[in-house]
């Protein structure tokens, strides 16, 4: 993450976008590239074609609940999802996303955000500007130990450094 401001336009979803929705089990035997065509398909079959790199995925409560399947963040990442903003995340998904270098930010006001709103996200300051609506929301900042992982480029390079230091 070189720039601390991320700009993009929104695709918006609701509560409890669980891993069976993000990565339906029936397609998990496919490669990530193939499986990503079906990401989110139970609720939005268009997702894989309409989501463009640089867009921002926004949802409400409990994003990523259910399975530990990393195919969920992997397929999203494959489609260009670099940042997800939700009111809350399920624990395993949150860690998986970070380990793959996807920024996951918690914001209590995502119900004010709609499809195609333009956002400017300052993830170091914990601030989201909704350019379309001319509103500003607070969001979580990434905890320091997690930023270390993201700055290192993911968990594996981070672990290598960590072991060297010990």
């Amino acid at each position: 993450m070189s720039d601390k401001i991320i700009k993009g336009s929104v695709w918006k979803y609701g509560d409890n976008i669980n891993t069976d929705i993000i990565s339906p089990p029936a397609y998990m035997e496919l490669s990530i590239a193939e499986a990503s065509k079906y990401a989110m398909s139970p609720i939005d079959p268009e997702f894989s074609t309409k989501f463009n790199k640089g867009d921002i995925l926004v949802a409400e409560n409990n994003f990523g609940s259910g399975s530990s399947r990393e195919t969920a963040p992997l397929t999203l990442k494959h489609l260009g999802v670099d940042i997800i903003i939700a009111k809350s995340f399920a624990r395993i998904f949150y860690r998986n996303a970070i380990n793959l270098g996807i920024l996951v930010l918690e914001c209590n006001e995502t119900h004010k955000i709609e499809d195609r709103d333009e956002l400017e996200v300052n993830y170091l300051e914990g601030e989201i500007k909704n350019i379309t609506k001319n509103e500003t929301y607070k969001c979580s900042k990434m905890p320091e130990h997690i930023m270390k992982i993201i700055n290192a480029g993911g968990l594996v390079p981070f672990l290598k450094e960590y072991k060297k230091d010990r």
Partner: protein
Amino acid sequence: MGMTISEKILAHAAGVDKASAGDILWVKVDKAMMDDILGPRVEIAEKLKELNAGVWDKDKVVVISDHYTPPANAKQAEIVKFTREWAKEYGVDNYYEFVGPCHQIMVENGHALPGKVVLGTDSHTCMYGAMGAFATGIGSTEMLGVLVTGEIWLKVPETIRVVWEGHLQKGVMAKDVVLKTIGKIGHAGATYKAVENVGSTIENMIMDERMAISNMAVEMGAKAGIIPTDEKTKEYLAQRGITEGYEIYESDEDAEYCETLYFKAEELEPVVACPHEVDNVTEIKNVEGTEIHQAYIGSCTGGRYNDLLEASKVLKERKIAKGVRLLVSPASKEVWDRCAKDGILQILSEAGATILAASCGACLGLHSGALAPGEVCISSTNRNFLGRMGSKDSKVYLASPVSVAAAAIEGKIVDPRKYL
């Protein structure tokens, strides 16, 4: 201030005297489990090669092919083959296949022991909390880190204490207890937290039942579903020849809990979780008469010996309704054999059940019983998410094995108590 079981296990694994909720610790991992669907094939095999690394301790790694066994097509077969060959290449002797869902296999083979830290690439790894372990699900990249280093960073969770007191009514099972608890806490109510299940109701339960409770901790978002180790745990292990090599931790009297919830067992009636969320829980009487097409008894939640035994009491000398299918997949080959020997499979089969291999298959709609659009299933498994067991236009109700058996008899959801 005292410590909870989770805090004690994690402190020990991190080599520190004290740990409290919120601390971030690097802990040593006692066992790392990978299944076929989310194991080596997702990132792990490729990245291990890239890192030019092996596994830190092959005796602490367990690999289990369970989701795609027996394979339904060539793709699935390829994944199982890959998993098998990967285990061989890395010298992982703890490799199992075609013997049932990973969590049951872990417990039966002594890989999940009291006081240990166990991590798995499957969210229901939290089941080993019933064995007194601190166990939780992680993603594949995270598992890669564990395989290379034998360590992981964990945030010590706060603990919600769930107290169940009293005797359950006839026809009410551990599954009803955990569904009721989830209904109360909510599907995200325990996110990042540990749940500690205590009270006389839990103490009275045999290990088969306790595992159904810990198994579903993740359905409240929880990181761990702990049940204190007692004589029953020790006896269960002793029957498997394990009498040492584990540590028993108890929560201190003055341990800190973020919340304590009390439930009375006598008041609990059979319940179901309605589509499409596990916390969408209501008494069975509120949905009585709902037509079903498939009834499923199986999985790491509801396919153990006791589950099949109780279901067989409902189905003995009865027949399932015409047009309804009852599928039974014992939670392991060991369970399968024991039920066969004791005549349980025969009773179920005579009632009209189709007895399947021990497998994950139908639980997540991969094979052996997926649902068609418009179909309704009542299931003793742990998830009823949209599309979980097949078509996204199907519906899944979660219930206890006896409630599933009773529904199969009538072709609709009913209170199982009239059959007991």
